[in-house]
Every structure is written in structure tokens, then in C-alpha cells.
């Protein structure tokens, strides 16, 4: 990853963190709010493969861990695993496939939240599984579908020039909605 990409990715993580902590937390319905964190490793993995997904997931998670009351390092762990898993599982899929981003965002975010809660409970935070998971998954699913496009755009901008995964696709020609 080039120094320019690192700076851009750091800026994207910061912007998403600020949007999450100022606007998304205010959008509480049924006691839950959207969570943009998981979209960072998902979109990074879709754009540049499992290694980049894992690395960006780790750093994005660590940034969120600094301001969240949950155990320090837990978001980094889940973000890293999520990024790697999404990248590895979608390697064989043509990145131009229209359903790839929404499906990856929806399933990845829900799986990450589930893993986050279960790991938190195992690590001595039993309250993390005492929440309304139906409301949470509904909110996370809808918000992931709505926000995957802008986050994906930001991530592609940040990783411009790192498109090892998208080498099959012309960056300029990629004007599709998803």
C-alpha cells in the first residue's frame, strides 16, 4: 500500500468514525442505531482482496475501539477477521456482479455483529448478548444496504492504484450503481 493510500484510508476511517459517532448514533430506532464500522473492511476487501480487507478492518476497528465502551481490541479483531473472510470468500466472484456489494454488506455486517456480541460475552461482557438481536439485525441490514454505496465509493477513492483485485476491471469504466 502506498503512503498516499495509507493517508487516504486513514482519512476515510476518520470521516466514517465521525459520521458514526455524531449522526448514526442519533438515528436510534427500537434501541439500536446503524453501524458503519463493518462496511469499511467489507468494502476494502471487495476492492482490494482479503489482505487489505484484514488490515483496514484491524485499523478501523482499533480506531472505533478508542471511543467505544466495549473491550479495547475487540472491534479490531472482528474487523480484521471480517475483512479477510469477505475478501477470501468473494475472490472467485466477478467484482462486476451487481449483487456482490449489497449481499456482502448485509451478510458481513450481520455476521460481524453476531461475532462481536458472542466474543464480547465470552470475554466477560454477558450484557452484549442481552440485546434485541431482531431489531439490531434489521437495523444493521437496512443501514448496510443504504450506506454500502457511499462507503464503497470512499474506499475505492482511498485505494485508487491498489486495485489488485479489480485488475480485471477498468477503474474508469466502473460507473455502476452497486
Amino acid at each position: 500500500m502506498t503512503a498516499r493510500s495509507v493517508l487516504r484510508v486513514a482519512l476515510v476511517i476518520f470521516v466514517v468514525l465521525m459520521v458514526q459517532q455524531t449522526m448514526m448514533v442519533a438515528l436510534r430506532i427500537g434501541g439500536v442505531h446503524p453501524d458503519l464500522l463493518w462496511l469499511l473492511p467489507i468494502t476494502a476487501a471487495l476492492a482490494d482482496g482479503p489482505e487489505t480487507g484484514g488490515i483496514i478492518g484491524f485499523w478501523a476497528g482499533l480506531s472505533f475501539d478508542l471511543v467505544l465502551p466495549t473491550p479495547f481490541g475487540l472491534s479490531a479483531l472482528v474487523g480484521c477477521l471480517l475483512g479477510y473472510a469477505v475478501g477470501a470468500l468473494t475472490t472467485a466472484v466477478d467484482p462486476r456482479t451487481t449483487w456482490l456489494k449489497p449481499v456482502a454488506a448485509l451478510t458481513g455486517s450481520v455476521a460481524a455483529d453476531m461475532l462481536f456480541a458472542v466474543l464480547g460475552a465470552i470475554l466477560g461482557q454477558p450484557q452484549m448478548v442481552q440485546i434485541d438481536f431482531v431489531a439490531l439485525f434489521l437495523m444493521i441490514s437496512i443501514s448496510s444496504l443504504v450506506f454500502v454505496l457511499p462507503v464503497s465509493r470512499l474506499m475505492r477513492w482511498a485505494l485508487a492504484g491498489e486495485n489488485s483485485r479489480h485488475s480485471l476491471v477498468s477503474a474508469q469504466a466502473d460507473g455502476r450503481l452497486w
Partner: protein, 278 residues
Amino acid sequence: MARSRRSRRTLTVIVLVVVSLSLISLDLNGRTHSLTSGIKSVANDIYSPLRQGVVDIISPIGNFFAGAFNYGAVQSENQQLQREIGQLKATQAEKSFDENQLRLLTKLENLPFLKSLPTVTAQTVDQYTSNFTSTITLDKGRADGVAVGYPVVGAGGLVGQVIQSFHHTCVVRLITDGQSKIGVVFGPSNKYTAIVDGQGPGNDLTADLVPPGTPLRKGQHMFTSGLQAAAFPPGIPVATVSTFHTPSGASQISITVEPSANLSQLAYVDVVQWVPNT
């Protein structure tokens, strides 16, 4: 070539997973927790002003839309508040007598009255930052005399306890959080005890360890017990009984309680500068 690239990817991710697990271990270990807490403290000192700047920029826009969409609701809420102010004024005179009585009783019982304890008034700057915890963030921290473990009270009763204190902000775990457990007393002469347990955001609290046959009534108040090594000073209203029943063969009454404090109105709270007696 492809195999070596795959190995490198796997190695990178394994290293990051090990680093994450090490950080979690450091955070959860009592002896090394101060290290991660220090990192979080520095990060929060940088992050809080930035976050506040963003909020200052976007809040007028948000308020404009909220005001436009909720004009009717705001108007009716205003009328309701005016009515409540009128009712409160009428009962204020009666309450002063009760307060004097309570002060005398508290003195007799040798219990520290909350009003005699120093407090720091704080404003809530953030609520429920995570979907998995019930916490609020206040605009007061170590520099303002707020330390970890201090109780936090709001209108009506106990709100929670400070779990993280940074330079100018602190994080408060609400009593509804699943990790919250509060020793309480209730009943005549406060002779019955129970543990009020948080059940997670949006769920009712429960009162546990109350044996069958204990006299209970709906609306009964429960107060912090202040027993030896208790995390809270005695006498703070915690919750009121909303439902109770004894399942056949059960060793305790199943009780649900509602917080005494209005947890939906936490714009300002008081942090009580009280250290538990050990």
C-alpha cells in the same frame, strides 16, 4: 508465487489477530488495564473536541429538520411541561416538611444524605455509542474531579456509575446495562434486601434474591443499600416495583422494576464524589 502470496496474506492476518487478542488481554487484565485506559484517555482528549466541532456544525441543520417535522409534538410537550410545573409548584410547600423529616431520620440512622455529598453537575454529550452497552458520555472528567466508580444521579434517582474517566470526559454505565448490579433495600424500615440487575438496553430491570413470602406491592421504592463495600452510598432511589409473581417451586420472587430516574431525560446529571468504603 501465488502460494507465497497467499501465505503472506495469511501471516499478516494472523499477526493482526494476535495483536488484537493481546490488546483485549491487556484491557481485561486488572494490572495492565491502566495501559489501554491511558491510550483511550489520550485518544478521547483529542477526539472529544473534534466530535464536538462536528456536532456544533451539524446540530443546527438537524434541529431545523427536527423542529419542522416535530412541531406539533414539541407544542404538546411544552403544554404538558407547563402543566407539570404547575403541579410541582403546588406540592413544593408540602415537600419541604417531608424533607425536614427525612433529613432528621437520615441523621438518626447515621446515613450520609446525598445532598451533603459533593457533586459535579455534568452535561451528557453522547448516548448509547454502542449497540451492545447502555452508556452515556459526560462532559466532565478527571480534571473536574470525576473518578471511576463515582455514582451518577439524575432527576428521580440513580442513573449509573462512572466506568471510564478521561481528562475532560467520562463514560457512565447506566443501571439498565446488562453488567449493572446494585444492592438495594426496601420495605418497612428498609429491612429487605435485593439485587437490581440491568437486562440490557430497552429491557426491564429485575430485582433478584427476594425470597417467597417477602411483602411486596406495585410501586414500592427500592433504595441503594450502602452496605459494607457497597458501590453506592445508601438511600438513593434506584427503582420501583412494576410486576412480581412467584413461580411454583421457585426459590425467589420474580420481580421486574422500573428505574426511578427518567433515563430518557439525561441532558444534565450529577456525579456524586463518593468513594466506596472498603
